[in-house]
Amino acid sequence: MDFEWSPVAEDIRQGIRKLCAQFSDEYWEEKDRNSEFPWEFYDAVVAGGWLGVTVPTEFGGGGLGILEASVIEQEIAASGAGMNGCSAVHIGIFGFDPILKHGSDDLKERFLPSFLDGSLHISFAVTEPDAGTDTSRISTFARKTEGGYLVSGKKVWISKALESQRMLLLVRTAPRDEVARPTDGMTVLFAPIDRDRIDIRPIAKLGRHAVDSNELFIDDLFVSDSDVVGAPGDGFKVILTGLNAERVIVANAALGIGRAAIARAVRYASERVVFNRPIGQNQAVQHPIAEAQTRLDAAELMCLKAAWLFDRGQPCGKEANMAKYLAAEAGFFAADMAVQTHGGYGYAREYHVERYFREARLLRIAPISQEMVLNYIGSRVMGLPRSY
């Protein structure tokens, strides 16, 4: 048992913290208010060489693990950037995995350079209006044609589609009732986001306004055979790649938002004087702050264990899911506490905790709901009868 951070992880923490410190809470509040993509931040991340941290060194990446990626994600969120900062870059930092693991050499050669230099933006397009977590029921269909596929269908909650040139698109290439298992007959395409063939409609939403979430209406989009990721029909396997890593990384975003919220709460509770004493001297104010810190630190231990297992190639489904669950709860508790600590001012944009609150709420439903995490733990980990 060793709780010592490696020097590289420490240096990465300091490096990304310094980068993020250039972007104030006011910067993020403005981007959020105006629903503007944070290009200045994105460009700074690219210029610092932070994209491709987890891409193996033989492909020109950093060759580091999910542990280091977690440090980066948590620091970005904790800087006050929250989910606006994390979502703007984390596909860039962690999202090329399916292609690295399953894609052809040709795909890697064509897209890795522009992925690593930040000019290629990628979206994940899996969820559909009529098939949420029940992925096998997707209906977007890719019909075989000369040299490729013609894709038609609908996708929803596709982040960053307005900025992206490509998406990892999950489609059916065989109908669900014609394959042996429901998860057979699906294929992942590295599809061009061709605006002549795809209507992108941003979804008005509660928070994380700087990064768009969209509905996609796809009509006869041509995708070349050379843009298929993995074998046709194996799409479900491809999409499962990196799911545990994503859980751990998103959990760290929740922890980061929690840390930002706690920092604001501590400051306000120490400075705000009512009845001749700082409000933080009152236990009714102090205890929730202390409780939030305790919950957050406990959740982080599970995140670290999950990352540790993942980086050693050991099974980590249980830990990754528990980490996501615990961190999402702890982050939300902290953000809610910070609003409460600020009283009426907590509701004002000026104090930023309302933005953290809106974003922390997101992580209890995305990328997977807390309930589905509990389903997984109940049935897959504990052997209880499966409910779905």
Binding site: P7, V8, E10, D11, Q14, G15, G48
Partner: protein
């Protein structure tokens, strides 16, 4: 062009720890980081090497406890190599002793230019750069706001109370730079990864031809007799506006001779 930058590693000013009641000095058994004052020298050195079209930046640092994390930060910024003088015997070294140790390490690197901060954030003696220059027989230019190197000459704008002195001196020379002279870059990811492979030469005092009796508490010529808290800042004057506040503010500023 070869530039040596003196880099001090200090307790994090955000979490500075405490004074040792026996020695009345700052406890240094905590994690140390690069003194921010020195990051300006590192940045300046990197820019000068760039402007010269080539060269190298070598760091020299002295600590009692083998700490390298501050050096790693400077290496990640782009410095090429480092010498760390680390020896338990160094604990308690005063400014002049520090200058003697640094001077010996700097000498080995045979630099064209030595850069240092004007003063450290944890010690504030502000005398080490000039002492190092004297020990090495180098010209010493202090309080530099701008530094340019051309041929064998350094041209320095040094800050004074009245404005600037424009100073020229032959190289090699030692220049101490003020905070804010340049905007220090933050380490990039590639810089951090590259720093892992950069050489850090770890030396003890014996490697520099020094004896334990010449350094640390034993070698110092000073004793810290007492340490007292700085007096609390007096509260400012509150100007209540009775229609003439602007005149009183102007009069106040006039008195300070800042207008």
């Amino acid at each position: 062009m070869k530039i040596v930058v003196c880099v001090k590693q200090i307790p994090d000013p955000a979490d500075p720890g405490s004074l040792d009641p026996d020695t009345k000095t700052l406890k240094r058994d905590v994690k140390l980081i690069i003194d921010e004052s020195d990051s300006y020298g590192v940045e300046m050195a990197l820019q000068l090497v760039d402007a010269a079209g080539g060269g190298s930046v070598h760091l020299v640092s002295m600590v009692p406890n083998r700490e390298v994390s501050g050096l790693r930060t400077a290496l990640a910024m782009g410095a090429d190599s480092a010498t760390l003088i680390s020896d338990e015997a160094l604990a308690g070294s005063d400014a002049l002793t520090t200058a003697k140790v640094l001077a010996r390490a700097i000498e080995r690197a045979e630099p064209d230019l030595v850069l240092a901060a004007t003063e450290s954030t944890d010690g504030y003696t502000g005398v080490v750069p000039a002492q190092v220059a004297e020990l090495l027989g180098l010209p010493s230019v202090t309080f530099a706001k701008e530094v340019a190197v051309s041929g064998g000459t350094a041209t320095v704008r040094r800050q004074t109370e009245a404005g600037y002195d424009l100073v020229e001196c032959p190289l090699p020379a030692l220049v101490s730079v003020t905070a804010g002279v340049v905007e220090p870059r933050y380490p990039s990811f590639r810089g951090i990864m590259a720093a892992k492979k950069k050489p850090v030469d770890q030396l003890g005092i014996a490697d520099l031809g020094l004896e334990p009796g010449q350094v640390g508490w034993a070698g110092g010529g000073q004793e810290i007799v007492d340490v007292a808290a700085a007096p609390a800042r007096e509260s400012g004057e509150i100007v209540t506006d009775e229609g003439d506040a602007h005149e009183r503010v102007v009069a106040f500023l006039d008195e300070l001779k800042v207008l």
